[in-house]
């Protein structure tokens, strides 16, 4: 191998080791529950825990609602800004980046102050209200990813001309977004959806401070009380997250092909 190639590979191997070695160590540790031999006992114990099912199910449900709300908010917003108010785009970029800058802790304290049980809109006064608040918080948290995914999707199609083509044939705005724009950016939306899902599944701060039975607080709770199960849970949540990321890659291959063959 040439020296010029050796160095990049060495740096890559070091970087990869930095991520993979702890993962292997965690996995190895998660197999050690039975004394003297490797077993999947820790995983069996995790899967047998009803709190695992309850918290995981809860987070999946909240994750799905978050995705739906996110799509309903972001797709029309990006569409109209790109079509009618392109001058608003820098402002949109800035707003959608805010959740990356503002710590989740500050966000949730703000929510609690605004929507506590003695406020005008007492979201935290009931379980359903708090769930709505949690969903809203997750939509905000996932905004940078959902916005960029949808924006990139719309960049690949000529939304202006497609909109005009549909309009002149009698379609209204709802029909245009539903029948033309959405199907053409579906892959981009699904990328955003999986990113959102990955964020929601492991989120701890907001769920914990709003006192909701989500998967993140459950992970932390197990971590403080058990030895081997947290390692098994870490591996499980890692698989889920990476599974979601892998799906984005798989879906990318089904992106609509818009370019024509040359004559």
């Amino acid at each position: 191998m040439k020296t010029s190639r050796l160095w990049p590979w060495l740096v890559f191997a070091l970087g990869a080791a930095y991520f993979i070695v702890p993962l292997i160590a965690t996995f190895e540790f998660s197999l050690r529950m039975r004394r003297g031999e490797y077993s999947f006992d820790a995983y069996a114990s995790v899967f047998a825990d009803p709190r695992f099912h309850a918290s995981f199910g809860y987070s999946v449900a909240i994750g799905l609602v978050t995705i739906v709300v996110g799509v309903l908010v972001v797709v029309p917003a990006v569409y109209f800004v790109r079509l009618r108010m392109p001058w608003l785009r820098p402002f949109m970029e800035f707003v959608t980046l805010l959740p990356l800058i503002i710590p989740a802790l500050i966000l949730v304290y703000g929510y609690i102050r605004l929507y506590n049980s003695s406020s005008i809109i007492p979201f935290t006064g009931s379980a359903l209200g708090t769930d709505i608040l949690l969903t809203g918080a997750y939509v905000t948290l996932a905004l940078p990813y959902m916005y960029r995914a949808v924006d990139n999707g719309m960049r690949t199609i000529d939304i202006g001309t497609l909109t005009e083509a549909a309009q002149i044939m009698g379609a209204n705005q709802v029909q245009i977004i539903g029948q033309i724009i959405l199907p053409n950016i579906l892959v981009a939306i699904l990328s955003g959806a999986f990113l959102t899902f990955a964020i929601v599944i492991g989120e701890f701060t907001i769920a914990s401070l709003l006192n909701r039975p989500a998967f993140g607080p459950y992970l932390v709770n197990i971590g403080t009380n058990r030895a081997y199960e947290p390692a098994a849970l870490a591996i499980i949540s890692f698989i889920i997250t990476w599974g979601a990321m892998g799906m984005i890659n798989v879906l990318g291959r089904f992106a609509p092909r818009t370019s024509a063959r040359t004559d």
């Binding site: 199609i157 001309t161 083509a165 549909a166 309009q167 002149i168 370019s259 024509a260």
Partner: protein, 351 residues
């Protein structure tokens, strides 16, 4: 009453007025071309007819109905775009049927209409293909079928041939014209290509800088250009700088050669310079009946174009272009050869 009537249409973007009080009226079934260089306002007029741009002032009437304030989806018009604009997620059949589906046509009737359209554009059997599987020409044909499937009141074509290569451009424009004549649909065609406009239009609106320069049938526009802009934009034009020898007798000197012209600009005094313009095809290298002006020069350049040979002849300071047919039995003239050219004085344009 005219089928489409555009009255005093004006469009400004900020301080920039791109369409300046344009008015025209056309009958049902006419093929109208809006011709002009980029930025002349032709596309803006089409977009105002379609409803994508709101006029700053003026009105548009189609079939007796004022559509100026109507939304595009309420105008019952069909449009073909330069970039095809087929819906990438729908196959050919679904693309053609889109307008019919929106209009609420039952599936059975829709299928029949799609099949009829596919036959019309010569793409029967392509129903299940997706746009990315088609060539540019095929995509544009599908776009045309999609536009006319819902039987619109009028067809708008926004430079539909610009993105295609030369051969397909010619065949598709002939196809468009044949379909238009067959259906008798009033069509407004925007183009910057004078050959396209001349070849398929019933009437042409020549535009420049937001104004109409001339409106007329292709032969009128070409043979009797109303302004210098129309003369130079539509077709080739020779400009000959001459000096007036005697205004009263309309005698001019072209690089020392004397000729008598039928008219002179009213302000042309003896000794002043005038520009005479003429089309290349009125010049001839051999004597022709009615050619009353003869000029001598040398061949400056020869361009062989196949069936036609384009010559550039230097008369002195002036250089004129003329086309001769390629005669396979004789070699084309060589550069530097002396040549005598003749023309009929009535063919000179004084603009």
């Amino acid at each position: 009453m005219a089928f489409i009537q555009v009255n005093d249409l004006t469009k400004s973007f900020g301080n920039n007025t791109v369409v300046k009080g344009v008015s025209f009226a056309f009958d049902k079934g006419e093929f109208i071309s809006l011709l002009g260089p980029s930025g002349c306002g032709k596309t803006t007029i089409l977009r105002m007819i379609a409803g994508f741009e709101r006029p700053t002032s003026g009105s548009i009437t189609v079939d007796g109905q004022d559509i100026t304030g109507l939304k595009p989806n309420r105008r019952q018009l069909g449009m073909v775009f330069q970039a095809y604009a087929l819906f990438p997620n729908l196959n050919v059949g679904e693309n053609i049927g889109f307008g019919l589906k929106i209009a609420g046509m039952p599936a059975e009737q829709r299928r029949a209409r799609i099949e009829e359209m596919l036959k019309l554009i010569g793409l029967a059997g392509y129903e299940k293909r997706y746009p990315y599987e088609l060539s540019g020409g095929q995509q544009q044909r599908v776009a045309l079928a999609r536009a006319i499937a819902p039987r619109p009141r009028m067809l708008l074509l926004d430079e539909p041939l610009s993105a295609l290569d030369a051969k397909i451009r010619v065949s598709l424009r002939e196809e468009i014209r044949a379909i238009q004549l067959d259906l008798g649909i009033t069509t407004v065609f925007v183009t910057h290509d004078q050959e396209e406009a001349l070849s398929i239009s019933d009437r042409i609106v020549v535009m420049n800088a937001g104004n109409i320069e001339q409106l007329g049938a292709p032969h009128e526009i070409y043979n009797k250009p109303a302004t210098r802009f129309v003369a130079s934009f539509v077709g080739q034009l020779n400009n000959i700088e001459a000096t007036v020898l005697e205004a009263a007798t309309k005698t001019v000197s072209i690089d020392g050669q004397i000729a008598t012209v039928p008219t002179l600009p009213t302000d042309a005094a003896t000794g002043s310079a005038v520009t005479l313009t003429l089309r290349p095809e009125v010049l001839s290298t051999f004597p022709r009946d009615g050619n009353d002006i003869t000029l001598t020069g040398t061949i400056a350049d020869v361009t062989f174009l196949g069936s036609v040979i384009r010559l550039r002849v230097a008369l002195g300071q002036n250089i004129v272009s003329l086309d001769t047919f390629n005669d396979q039995r004789t070699a084309p003239p060589a550069r530097g050869e002396p040549v005598t050219i003749s023309l009929a004085s009535k063919d000179l344009l004084v603009l």
